[in-house]
Symmetry: C2
Subunit: 409 residues, 2 copies
Amino acid sequence: MKLTIDKHRLWQRLNDMASVGATPAGGCNRQALSDLDFEGRGLFESWCRAAGCTIRHDAIGNVFARRPGRLDSAAPVMSGSHLDTQPTGGKYDGVYGVLSTLEVVETLNDHAIETDHPIDVVVWTNEEGSRFDCAMMGSAVWSGALDLQAACALKDLQGVSVGSELERLGITDTAAMDHNVHAAFELHIEQGPILEAQATPVGIVTGVQHMCRFRIEFIGQETHAGPSPMAMRKDPMMATADFLTSGYAAADRHQPDGRITFGYIHASPGSPNTVPGRVELTVDLRHPDAHAYLAMQQAVHTGCAASAAKFGLEFECNQVWEAPGVEFDSSCIQAVRDAVEAAGLPAMDIVSGAGHDACNIAAVAPTSMIFIPCEDGLSHNEAENITAEQAANGANVLLHTLLVAAGGG
Amino acid sequence: MKLTIDKHRLWQRLNDMASVGATPAGGCNRQALSDLDFEGRGLFESWCRAAGCTIRHDAIGNVFARRPGRLDSAAPVMSGSHLDTQPTGGKYDGVYGVLSTLEVVETLNDHAIETDHPIDVVVWTNEEGSRFDCAMMGSAVWSGALDLQAACALKDLQGVSVGSELERLGITDTAAMDHNVHAAFELHIEQGPILEAQATPVGIVTGVQHMCRFRIEFIGQETHAGPSPMAMRKDPMMATADFLTSGYAAADRHQPDGRITFGYIHASPGSPNTVPGRVELTVDLRHPDAHAYLAMQQAVHTGCAASAAKFGLEFECNQVWEAPGVEFDSSCIQAVRDAVEAAGLPAMDIVSGAGHDACNIAAVAPTSMIFIPCEDGLSHNEAENITAEQAANGANVLLHTLLVAAGGG
């Protein structure tokens, strides 16, 4: 008989964790380093201890719950995600990857299966970046991409720092953490509509797309809407219409993978009968292929300048954020492929549209990810939803992945 | 020698009135029925009394300062505008037309010139509609377009009503006002760039363009910007780009007079990495020709529906306000033409882009307007500016207009 995780235990744990910081609308509010985040971590650690794991923390509050391996000196296989949520977040983003790894550990325990390598169930601190504006913070510090002091100095809107919250909650350890990792995995909900649309239960994540963000401003001349002939206006909305059109066209040239989003737009002063003096907007640009991504970036720069010039306007075009794409480790991807086969589930290759802690881990250890579908592709939303069946599918793939990667059986 | 107004006296009066509610940035804040509006009215009435005028008020606080005519039973010639300003308004919008009429009266007095018809220097209450959201309120009540009780019930943001302010300030009279008006004129700054661009000191205003306002909403589906392929999105910004383009194209088809303005736009939730669920925007549409105006209105309706359909979105398209165009009285326009000639000034025909009290008066009496240029076409702005020379030009045209219309000499 095929080895499988305990679907009911996993589903119960997901529900139990969701009760910590549960919102009236059915979501979760367990923001990083809040009392509720602390309560969620405590619940998780109590389950880990009951499962025989040894808990360690690092200096930024990342949690490593270790199931020992047969070989004392072998580097661990890491698997996990995050427990913190958006202020109006869902019940599965992050949590699902953490609790599925714990479920794998318990399944191995149930069947008295040993592995050569230890397995570390990992919780990364502040993945969401909603309270402290730095997404994937804990994994960035762990991997060396972000300085510990810089992370500790980050403050929330009330002026409370990461450092003071870590100290208040007492969830850090100054012991240096081992970076000698045999392999790392992260199981996550897709947060997009592709797997659901393809009716495919598992996504073999081969990488994360390149992404960046621009802040753009077209500057014209504020005038009364009535008495100003069109030809005498310096109307930044004209440039905006032109720029939006060229931006969507640039994404069209790089389908099916290119993505462009205009999420924020503001016209000043914002009065119906005044030609705006300024229009400010943001552009979010993504593509998994480096060349196509660069072409789209270039199209934003030239499109913005061209639209401004066409209407005789001033403009500003600043790239304010960039996260280079990641190609996951081929042997880790292969381990997931094999596990999909072992679990007997249909699967497809997929590129992650969003950033994940796995992006940081990939810089220092062989890493890959596994996705499951979520309802309507919704995430960062209290309506975020998956079924117990979908949850079990992904956890079973993770089980076989970790079994192979950690040398089990 | 040609009869002319006293340029220095007019300029001094404009400056004296500007000191009431003067703002640090050089503008005026004398909002309707405020203490400062009351102070401005008081100053104006004291000048009128000194010039031998009889002051009357109507039930909505409009002021009629009458210089008697030779024929007791003759209907008056009206001329004036408003003294209230925007919260960050300029020194000339409205005020210039009122004080120029007073200057004409004083010039006639100086030269002992009698007219057959009385001349009423008029101040209309709350033309701006910034404190009480109803532009051209006083003239609308006077002309019967707006019910007195409805006007009195209007409240400002603090909940204070027009009626209670009128009572507090004691500036009303229940005496019925005579609607038997021989002719009416309004001298105003253009509030647009046309006269300045043409280096023409006087605009003979033949009418006011048709105008309306729409509130439009495109409704899609809010999703994470990263994992959602373009083809699976319901992105209201796509429809917005398409609609803006079709809107500007509709105005292009009706140049040089068609005007379209997108003054307000808001994308919800307004996060850079979220595809908006909704985009709301306003459209302000204007054209002096009824057929072209109708065609543009139709283009907004069909364009909005087409843009929504193109991207599979829901939409709402509501016309929330409309002011039909006005064609001024041909004999009044001719009187201005003759006056321009008498004053020896270059002039051009012009259609008003903005609404004025004259629009309401035109419904019950032969009416027309006179424009002068203002710097950069700026208005509703503390930087609103004209020169003493420009002010004198318009007042001289008004002098000769009223002389002819009132049967002077």
